[in-house]
Symmetry: C2
Subunit: 339 residues, 2 copies
């Protein structure tokens, strides 16, 4: 979903959130209230719920992804919301609207991808619904998780450090190259087509007590840092020289270093985790332990200060400049947003 | 979804159920296992989950329903699965794919209908996802409920009585009349456009300990009785002279008495409850109490015997004849299936 009129129209539905929609009769026997629409998932009585649509022509194109990848990606991307709240997977519900032109082999591919996506999330398919579609292929994935203590976007405090799992920008680089009519490298394609929900990573970090606030990177680091800053009532400073640009982004030579940093900041759909940790709580032992366990870097990308908004400290030493929040525009070359 | 090739293709996805799809890692800390795809909803650790798609051109037409009705119906129909398991509502997740031709006023209507649907279910909107659609309007509704003791389809025993809430056939009559190019009466249209999920009714019945097995009527009484018979490993005998045909079905004079009975048996989408009760457990006090509380009839429609399948005892006294299971075909005049 890109920014602009479409997004505004759709935003009008946000008014239909808690408290306006009904009696609230059945909620919270233990007194807990579900979280607002600002967080990655709803949380009721220890269960976490989130729903994600994948609509052909909006979120994916069949010319860019095999149906196995379509199935995998829809489930894995939805599962990323469980990671964002550091909750254990319970299971997945899948609703599919299937165009009539899909043949047996294509359905088998889709089925395989969904199964692999469930494995990546670490939960079984609990149920679903199936329908024909007179138009696009639509996958609607509901993920259910469990945690007694969800990590929210709102817990960051001035002085905290900001950390990111994995590398950034590879998925957006694949979309950009694909949008220019070229074929991305297999590694870039894989980053786009096979994102890994960082569920075990989030649970590992939670066990170490370092998660003050967290979300998964779907809109791009700059935009999602803005969400975290807004939810926590703080300012975020990103340090450009630390940006963990995925080494695959520039590997094929078709993306410049500067463009790589832009994609890492604004590209979107990395499905890595961004979290605020108390100062000093993530040390060399944690970074090394994380890398040993998950074969992924853990990178300090900035800090939390009093104030509001997101600033970038350029690596050339020039003064920090504000980053406007930029949404991620599917299929727009290089993603939406701007610095 | 009508019977036939489309349905078979879609059924192939059922193989992707529990055990094949993943590790099952996160499921059932208390040792409970989710139910199989045969029941109306999945049940995990006291929570009930179900998902229902409503796709324009497949499940509804905008020429037949206002957008307020579309929103209401999608949520209410999904909520009916909570009723089927006699579970308390916890909340609703809604994913919407919105065609670009929807204007502000239409979106407001849809929003209003969704809100009314949440009220009918008795739970708040917990969260959702919104997208543009390059094709049809798609609503995907996940309902979440809670019960420590779900009523399944599989509990019926020989000797049990079969009971139905409310009247049958009105929704299918509306579809049939509409499909013939006429306008159904306001009462018939309302039965189709504004089905009531029988959640409080189910909880009332459960309190009285009369629910041995239950499901909600979405495929028509004959077909759903077949589901109950198959899940319970019993035979079901329906008694034609007791069929609670909704009085509105014949009221406008365009549906004959015989056709009315056929619609009540095979019409589908009544969203009433069919349940098996121990013999004698539902007496005049329960019937009267139910009517006083809900302004709805409670009707004994048959009995459970040893064996398999569904038979109908015709009201003319001729021998009982087997009813083949007939699915409900959206938009096919009079629904699918046959006796």
């Amino acid at each position: 979903m890109g920014p602009g009129g479409e997004f505004d129209r759709i935003r009008s539905f946000q008014g239909l959130s808690l408290g306006e929609s009904g009696t609230g009769g059945g909620v919270g026997s233990s007194g807990e209230l579900p979280l607002g629409p600002g967080d990655d998932a709803a949380w009721v009585d220890g269960f976490v719920f989130s729903v994600d649509l994948a609509v052909e022509g909006i979120h994916f194109r069949r010319s860019w992804l095999s149906l196995e990848e379509v199935g995998f990606r829809a489930v894995a991307a939805a599962g990323s919301d469980l990671a964002a709240m550091a909750s254990e997977p319970v299971g997945i519900l899948l609703a599919l609207a299937l165009p009539r032109d899909l043949g047996e082999e294509e359905l088998a591919q889709l089925r395989r991808g969904v199964g692999q996506g469930c494995e990546a999330v670490g939960g079984p398919l609990l149920g679903g619904d199936l329908s024909a579609s007179p138009g696009p292929l639509v996958l609607d994935v509901t993920v259910v998780g469990r945690t007694s203590d969800p990590v929210l976007r709102s817990g960051a405090e001035p002085g905290d450090e900001l950390w990111v799992t994995g590398g950034l920008g590879a998925s957006a680089a694949a979309v950009r190259i694909q949008g220019q009519g070229h074929r991305p490298s297999p590694a870039l394609h894989r980053a786009y087509a096979r994102p890994r929900p960082r569920i075990q990573e989030a649970l590992w970090l939670r066990e170490r007590g370092v998660l003050r606030a967290m979300l998964d990177l779907s809109d791009g680091l700059a935009g999602d840092a803005g969400h975290l800053a807004a939810a926590s009532g703080v300012a975020v400073v990103l340090e450009e020289d630390t940006l963990p640009v995925d080494p695959e982004v520039g590997a094929a030579g078709d993306v410049s270093e500067e463009e790589g940093r832009r994609l890492a900041l604004h590209g979107g759909e990395d499905f890595e985790l961004l979290f605020a940790a108390p100062p000093g709580s993530v040390g060399p032992d944690e970074v090394e332990g994380f890398r040993a366990r998950f074969h992924l870097p853990l990178t300090r990308v900035g800090r939390v200060e009093a104030g509001a908004g997101v600033r970038l400290e350029p690596q050339d030493g020039s003064p920090a400049r504000p980053l406007t929040e930029g949404g991620f525009d599917h299929f727009a070359p290089g993603g939406g947003g701007g610095g």
